[in-house]
Symmetry: C2
Subunit: 239 residues, 2 copies
Amino acid sequence: MSAARAQAKVSGAEPLTAPVEDYLKAIYTIGKGTGPAATNEIAQRLALAPASVSGMVRRLADQGLLAYERYRGVRLTESGRLAALRTLRRHRVIEAYLAKALGYAWDRVHEEAERLEHAASDELVDRMAATIGEPHVDPHGAPIPTKDGSVDETEYRSLADLDVGVSGMIVRVADEDPEMLRYLAELSVVPGKRITVKSRAPYGGPISLSIGRHEMSIGPALAAHVLISPVADRAGKRG
Amino acid sequence: MSAARAQAKVSGAEPLTAPVEDYLKAIYTIGKGTGPAATNEIAQRLALAPASVSGMVRRLADQGLLAYERYRGVRLTESGRLAALRTLRRHRVIEAYLAKALGYAWDRVHEEAERLEHAASDELVDRMAATIGEPHVDPHGAPIPTKDGSVDETEYRSLADLDVGVSGMIVRVADEDPEMLRYLAELSVVPGKRITVKSRAPYGGPISLSIGRHEMSIGPALAAHVLISPVADRAGKRG
DNA sequence: GCACAAAGTTAGGACATACTAAATTATTTT
DNA sequence: AAAATAATTTAGTATGTCCTAACTTTGTGC
């Protein structure tokens, strides 16, 4: 497990607004923590006009949350990264809590968490986490940052990239599209399942899989949203 | 138990903003549901300048949530009253849930609920309520409105108004001041306790009480925040 | 290396919410 | 009923977040 650690600079910060937290989250996930994020991509992820993003990133840069050069995209500063991780922790703990303590279906937790993450205090989130046994991942397999800003940054391969014959453990699926999540659950494509790629049709054709006794085939667009931790198969071959 | 019922006019409403919900809640509690609320009182309760309230109530009136005549105060319309009750239900269910399911102290639930009430969906609130057994009151004894907009509107007498010798059951205490709540808890002045007024000093002097074996005395300002359901005492006398 | 496309920014404006200061209306006192 | 006081509103302004339209910069293809 590769973990990134952050110096806990105790910003004397007033609380961030909901839109600001959303920007930071988006920039974090685009840049995978430290990388740059393009204006257009931020805009797309937040469903905003690019012009709006230009304005906002300037303000966030003034507040010291971003490093920003005109026309060059943005990058989180250390304090911006920590703020993003706090929000991400909130979001994922809330998702896990809703699923485990309140019986939410896994395709419904994202939307609810998306609002609650801006209103829940750190104390509430910590109590939720404690109540359900300090989970390390949310219901879709996304790692939950710790209070001090550590997070598992292992990069997994997507199911779309696995070679034929390779087996792996499903570790994570994309969490935003409820319909997709329901479909995946129907197919038993959920974190923790062992999966084997049986065959792949060329030119974007279907990928055939087996999970336990079940056989199925899915398109590459869907497969790209399923992340896999490779494990040796019978022949000792790796992905 | 007197209950007020409301015709569930299914407004095709976009969700209300947090400030709007706060205004409606304030107006509801000032007017006890149907009465008028003065601009100044709304302003005081929300810690805003009166001028800000004038502006807002006009917009709310335009939206059909309030009946408003310049210089005459406001009154909730039926749809405004229902919206206020929805928020109040959210708030109180959340308070009860935090206390019962997550171990929050009763002096901390208000602040957390104050933020969550604007972010929680009806579904979440209903699940919370179901999980803790559909409570009828929050941790401070305030009645929880039902989903269809009914609420117990019984008006109780405050401890400050009880005559000497009278006994009663504590049904509710004011919920906003954490320090006061901690003090009351220390004295066992909590909902459900049987209380008897032993004596009252004149000119705003202390009120002497007994709760079980405990004897104590408190000032009238504090007593005013404790609501009592009168019960016959040994002599059959009533408050 | 120039022209065009893509990406990004600025300009100007809207809306919700808040403020202070000044004006107005309502109420109370004398 | 006039004057004084209290309550409320209007006027003008600020901030945060968003928009569209027009402009500028960057990068690509020849």
